[in-house]
């Protein structure tokens, strides 16, 4: 038990500290690297709560794909981050005011929060012991039965995103030389090479 508590505080502390570093780091590449660290520690927290599937997904999808994509974007787009930060001082008062109002409102709403009695039971209840199902299997069963409609529709949303990206960015440019492997392989020697007899003392 004590080991778990230590692990929890370790993961939680590093996650929060790394998250702070994401927004304060001067170098955007460092920001992204700290973001990766945050994701890793969040994945550790998931493992502690027994959600090993979510932990793996977090590492594979967020660290493996999203964060690396960020890194690419940061490196390839030459964004002047110093310039972006210049507005920070100027907008701090109004931004701080709005944040304070929002915080006040959330506290106000949270103050009258009444947790339904059955929720308390659900929180303490762990994964049903003794059932042979792993997390992954359970999620899969839910996704393909109760939530199959949403699952398929989410696929349609991604489909639209893909079509949209192609519609808005793909351009047919004339005069671009493309690789045509069939034609390249089919070339014969006598089509391309011509032997010339060059006599000594004369040019071609």
């Amino acid at each position: 038990m004590i080991l778990q508590a230590i692990a929890f505080y370790l993961f939680a502390f590093i996650a929060v500290a790394a998250a702070v570093m994401v927004v304060t780091a001067r170098n955007p590449v460092h920001s992204v690297l700290f973001l990766v660290l945050t994701f890793f520690n969040a994945a550790g927290l998931f493992v502690l709560t027994g959600a090993e599937f979510l932990a793996m997904i977090l590492v594979i999808v967020y660290v493996g794909a999203v964060a690396v994509l960020f890194l690419f974007v940061v490196m390839m787009l030459d964004i002047n981050f110093v310039e972006l930060r210049e507005g920070f001082q100027r907008y701090l008062p109004i931004g701080g005011l709005i944040a304070a109002i929002l915080l006040g409102e959330i506290v106000f709403v949270g103050g009258i929060w009444a947790v339904a009695p059955e929720v308390r039971g659900a929180l303490t209840e762990r994964v049903p012991e003794g059932s042979a199902l792993t997390n992954t299997e359970m999620l899969g069963r839910l996704l393909y039965t109760k939530y199959v409609y949403l699952f398929q529709l989410a696929g349609m949303v991604l489909f639209v995103a893909m079509v949209g990206a192609i519609v808005l960015t793909l351009r047919q440019r004339p005069g671009v030389r493309k690789q045509k492997i069939g034609e390249q392989v089919r070339r014969r020697r006598d089509e391309t090479v011509e032997l010339k007899q060059v006599r000594p003392g004369e040019g071609v």
Binding site: I112, V148, L150, L153, V160, V163, G164
Partner: protein
Amino acid sequence: MILPNLEYAASEMFVAVAAMVLLMIGVFRGEGSARLVSALSILVLAAAAAITVWMSPGESRMAFAGMFVSNGYTTFLKVGILLASAVGIVLSVGYNAREAIERFEYPVLIVLAALGMMVMVSAGDLLSLYIGLELQSLSLYVIAAIRRDSVKSSEAGLKYFVLGALASGMLLFGASLVYGFAGTTAFAGLAAQLTGASAPSVGLVVGLVLVMVGLAFKVSAVPFHMWTPDVYEGAPTPVTAFFAAAPKLAAMGLFVSVLAGPFGGLVKQWSQIVIVLAIASMVLGAFAAIAQTNIKRLMAYSSIGHIGYALVGLASGTKDGYSAVLVYMAIYIVMTLGAFAVILAMQRSGRMVEEIGDLTGLSRTNPLMAAMMLIFMFSMAGIPPLAGFYAKLYVFLAAVEAELYFLAVIGLVTSVVGAYYYIRIVKVMYFDEPEDALDPRPGRDLGAIQFVAGMATLLFFLFPSLLVGAADTAVFSLTGG
């Protein structure tokens, strides 16, 4: 059987599969296939409307573990959505070819948007509502920016995307609050908890308000209307025509079904907000349109005003009110599509023009088109015996019966103000000296849409019971007697 009642979602499945098939046809036939894919898309949408009617159950039926609901109400809306989307594609074919933005993805994206709208109005759960809304919005963002070499069109797409994402965020935040306080996202579960509840928790009401903000953005009710004029002006004209029709009907239908269904028990709470939205939309729609010179911006403000009138019916919180909303939206769509068919026919020596001043002397150069535009403008202004008059009449009657007298009075005053700019267009067409005549012949497709919409608007008073009866039956199946 794990998934009972699948057959009620037959039209959705058909549209989803058909969209992918259409895309495949476009990809394999290459660049020149836009016309073929457009024609097939229109057929697909019409077939889907037929399937919807054919498969429509008498009373409410659920499928997919309560995520999907099918009843007379959803059938009414889906048929409207599918037909309006099909007309949207018809309007686009000639324009896209002329402006060299003909792409086979365009009709496919409209079909996918129509799928999103069908999912939205059939939602039986906050989750399916959100996914449907996103499917629709994402397709619309892309269509708005379809003319990617034009700064205005790209700006319209980006603006719509950023603001739409913000609205989706609001809606999701509200949905999560509702889930936190009610413990369920299913509409049936929410309705069971909220009917007869003496004092709903404040958190739930906050959640409801945020969900309403998201929906108000989608119908472009004031004060969430900022995107409308810019997007309408920047997007290519047939896209604007499509935006003003089908998505508005879907979002409004969703607004009604969410508020009347799961949140029906909170009618006291939400009707105040709807009243504010309605008044603000009617007033802004009437006054801001006066100064416009671009006819697409004018139509944007006009649509904001019309949404305000439709919200009057919703604010009454009665069955007659909901039915009046449906009638209003159906008539609004017919008028709007007709008016856009006229706007699309506004060309001078092959180039599109979109200033109101370009219509001068249309009555002499093209009397039939001018007469049709006259019908649409008078109908939008609410002059009897045209359809727009009846639409407003039903809405205001519902408000008066719910004892919302001031709302009806404000509505009357703003429609008098609004009549000014509609009638100004008629004046420009009929009494101003023509300067540069517009090209005389619109395409046959535009002419047909103008004529059909014009006749429907003109002759509505002969058969009002067709539409009103259908709307009443639809609402009956929504509220369950």
